[in-house]
């Protein structure tokens, strides 16, 4: 493929993006979400705000890692003020802990519902409210129609939504822009030092519309994400055999 052809394809890609709901946001208005090495994988080379993201988890440990990762992104979205909404049925999120992810817990509103069927209604109403920084919903169930409704809601209001799905069932097809799975990784401490190091996660981007799925190891250190290169020493025997 010649350079010309590649340019044409890139230009066409740029024209398709707005049609699919990825509006190019002006630089000063957009909240600065930086995901370190992951940034270049997204369309427009930026974490898509004003979209709905889906996060899968199956164990409580994974849920905690997901909650931490999402809180970190929401913290970046809420940096310039703004209000976040956290919707759940049996919410276990610990408000004081959000401080560590850059969220002022007083600016986060928690909606605790009794019935799961109301979760998505509340989420849709929240996503329609222009100006909210982030809407996070812990909803195990999400079907294609519901996710399509959420996507249509955010295309108008430009609110960023996160659906945290703690479920062991197969996730099915949904209309969300991305699908993620966050797994905790062992932290690293300096040689011979006691304690636990900075939080580390394996972030696998299972699906991303118009982007490149992949898997990254990331560390949350001092309010920003950093990519980590797995060093051979820390790999287990089986993994070492795999990587060679």
């Amino acid at each position: 493929m010649s350079m010309d052809q590649r340019n044409i394809i890139a230009r066409l890609q740029q024209e398709i993006l707005p049609l699919q709901g990825f509006k190019p946001v002006s630089l000063d208005a957009a909240a600065d979400v930086r995901l370190g090495p992951m940034d270049r994988t997204f369309p427009n080379r930026r974490f898509p705000t004003g979209a709905v993201h889906e996060f899968l988890s199956s164990a409580p440990e994974q849920s905690a890692a997901t909650a931490g990762f999402v809180s970190a992104i929401a913290g970046m979205l809420m940096q310039k003020g703004g209000v976040g909404i956290w919707i759940g049925c049996r919410r276990t999120i610990f408000p004081p802990a959000l401080k560590a992810f850059g969220i002022d817990p007083q600016r986060m509103l928690f909606v605790d519902l009794l019935q799961e069927k109301e979760l998505l209604w509340v989420m849709e109403e929240a996503l329609r409210t222009e100006g909210l920084a982030a809407v996070i919903c812990e909803s195990p169930g999400l079907d294609f129609t519901a996710s399509r409704r959420l996507q249509l809601a955010v295309e108008k209001s430009r609110v960023t939504g996160f659906v945290l799905r703690h479920t062991n069932r197969s996730p099915g097809t949904v209309a969300c822009v991305t699908r993620w799975r966050i797994t905790p990784l062992p932290s690293r401490t300096e040689e011979g030092m006691p304690g636990i190091g900075f939080l580390r996660w394996n972030v696998s981007l299972l699906k991303v519309r118009n982007g490149q799925p992949g898997s990254w190891d990331m560390e949350w250190r001092e309010g920003s994400f950093r990519g980590i290169v797995p060093d051979l020493k820390s790999l287990s025997g089986e993994q070492r055999r795999k990587t060679g």
Binding site: A67, V83, F94, L98, L109, L113, I196, G197
Partner: protein, 500 residues
Amino acid sequence: MPRFMYIWFRHLKTDWFSRRRPELRMLPFVLSSLQQGRVVIVAANSLAQAQGIDVGMAVADARAVLPCLEVIDDLPELASRLLKTLGEWCIRYTPVTAIDGEDGLLLDISGCPHLWQGEGAYLKHIVTRLRDNGYDARAAIADTIGAAWAIARYGRVKPIIEPGEQLDAIRSLPPAALRLDPVVVARLNRLGLVRIGDILSLTRQALRRRFGTELLLRISQILGAEKEMIVPIEPLLPFSERLPCLESICTASGIGIALQRMLEALCAKLQQDGKGLRKAVLTCYRVDGQVIRTEIGTSRASHHAIHLFKLFELRIPLIDPGPGIELFVLDAAATDEVSSLQQTLWAGDTDLESPALGELLDRLINKLGSDVVHRYLPDERHWPERSFKAAASLEEKTAAAWPCDRPRPVLLLSSPEPIEVSAPIPDYPPMLFRYRGRLHTIKKADGPERIEREWWLEKEEGQHRDYYSLEDAAGARYWVFRSGHYGMENTRWFIHGFFA
């Protein structure tokens, strides 16, 4: 010029019993109650009255006159309850209705009858509806409350007294029509003053000397020289909208349209006065006499018709229109000054004070209840599950800061769950623990962090907690604690949270 209507229910209580038990309709019956050791008749239906049985007779005497007389126990408070219901029903004809005594309703109908094509049709409509429902009602319309009262009870010629003609109309009525004390009436009768016209021909001084000021006051009131106040059943609210419907409405979309129209009018009024709605009550008057109420509340004063309609929209399915609704009344039960918010220069960021957020919360709270939305503030307490408290409002602030010097888990279990632990030496973090049947081998650990119990707040004896942050071989991070000292009998281990 005010106009008043008086409705007199001649057999209010007995009519109600006949309505409930149709077999009574054909029987003479009375209501009785025990008064000073005697069973006395307190109400009698028209059939009983035709036999000469009337209120105040002893039941034993009445039985002597009419052995087949049915006697039913009187229900206390029945009359006032019935009048209140009937008065509320009459609100569909005029907003100001009041209860008068034990057997009457008073309506301020100024400016209302033209909606029913004149006073004649208006009166006929009301009386017919009441009679269809089994109530023996007599009504009259006049310029003054006194005149309407007198004509309804004693008038024989015509029920509607044209404006300014009350003097001629009452001349031939007996003095009792002046709403006087029975003693005064008896005295008037003894003196041969059997018509109001006779009394009016005497000088005021003579009347005052003989009968006191009450008689003069009543005469002034009936002629309109003295104003009378009435106390409406429903207090008149400054912000209220009424929408009578020509055709009764029984669809949700019809109710929606009615609501929209009323809200727009109400909000325009509110906006003029710089007020906003905090609580609104929608009252639907059904054709069959049922009254349905539904209300909404807002967290902040609002005169935004579209937003308020959205709140009501969630309630529309709960309104049962039955055979149809003929009148809607929308009352602003609580209003507040609207703080005119300065529009933010850079639109896009919501603050906790932003109207859009307030409207979202109103929608959630009105649909799901007031206890679903929480906001937390730091609380200066020791134990982690008590280190935050729910804020009462969106504006509430606190001087306390969020503690962030210690690691805290992102998920906290609502109550700690017991785990099995093996720890090598006292006050060392565990080597491994078993939680929900799975064994976790600890690779890295931090702690202990001792958190004392709050003995000054707790009633029962508790133990301090030593918290450890643990990381297992897979990289999962946990927050566990040992309750009490190591090696003691009642020492137990718990898992309390998960780190991200």
